[in-house]
Amino acid sequence: MKDKFKSSKWQEVINWAQKKSLFMLHYCTGCGAIELPPTMTSRYDMSRFGIGPAATPRQADIFLITGYLSTKTLRRVVYTYEQMQDPKFVMGFGSCTINGGMYWDSYNTIKQLDKYIPVDLYIAGCMPRPEAILEGFMKLKNKIETGNADGYLRYKEDYDFYKENQEKVLGEVKRRQ
């Protein structure tokens, strides 16, 4: 079904429209949050690329995780991610989401975000500057247009994999429909 959608002309139109209007939920767990105000406001002004901040998970398209996640915040991230509506795209921001960053040997922070929720794009750096964030957004828009930003489909397909990893570090994860 995924391939059929990818190849259909109608899906291409949807993808094209989708990349023009993206709303971002920024989950500011770590120090990366400080790079977002200049990205959003007049200095770098991400709204000229059709991206704006969203207030709640249910209205958001992009889920931006800005930094380290302790296991306690990971639980909230999983809840938030599952509340978001399809299509949804996750961006991991900063080296903490990639390999733990400076918290690489902490007993309480996860080391690889993509074990727990599917990540469409990583922005490397500690911290990435606003230019890097905008570059990441442009890459994500390209991925959306070509139909490669399929994290939310992977989450459904490999749900057992993600669930197993989540429960390994979190214990029980309550899920509400």
Binding site: R75, V169, G171
Partner: protein, 162 residues
């Protein structure tokens, strides 16, 4: 307003401390016996040291003791006093001071999270910071952080050149 040496003299007479010294300006450290601690804190509170900034804990694993440090501040004297006491590490039990400062119950919960110390009289000892913790308390010196991380999390594999 008293200066440091006046406060030290006062406390030496009243509290009978194990040791007392001025660390630097506006900073005094007092070591008390276990059973003197609550009365000592009461005394300090009634003598303008009314602000309990926090309670901290040190794991002296070689001495087999925990050291609890109560950080007090006086808005009149403008002096910080660290009141220290040592408790047995195996037993790791002490009395609560939440009847003196209500906020202490959260500091005690925090210490219970990270050091596993029980405070008698403080019954609400649910996890405050940690969640579903399954090992010995993480700030104890005998907690092996790297071993725990190795078995709980996976390292990212890199396939580039060394």
């Amino acid at each position: 307003m008293r200066n440091e040496s006046e406060v030290i003299e006062l406390l030496e007479n009243k509290l009978n401390p194990l040791s007392i010294e001025k660390l630097r300006d506006q900073n005094i450290t007092v070591t008390l016996n276990n059973d003197q601690l609550v009365s000592g804190l009461n005394y300090l509170k009634s003598h303008s040291y009314s602000h309990l900034a926090t309670i901290s804990c040190v794991d002296w694993i070689d001495d087999n003791e925990f050291e609890l440090v109560y950080h007090l501040f006086s808005y009149q004297d403008k002096i910080n006093i660290s009141v220290k006491t040592r408790i047995d590490r195996e037993e790791s039990k002490f009395v609560t001071i939440k009847h003196i400062w209500a906020v202490a119950q959260y500091y005690e919960r925090d210490i219970h999270d990270f050091y596993g110390i029980e405070f008698e009289g403080n019954d609400d000892m649910d996890e405050l910071i940690l969640e579903n913790w399954d090992e010995i308390p993480p700030m104890r010196k005998d907690f092996k952080t790297r071993e725990y991380v190795d078995q709980k999390f996976e390292w990212r594999e890199y396939h580039g050149s060394e």
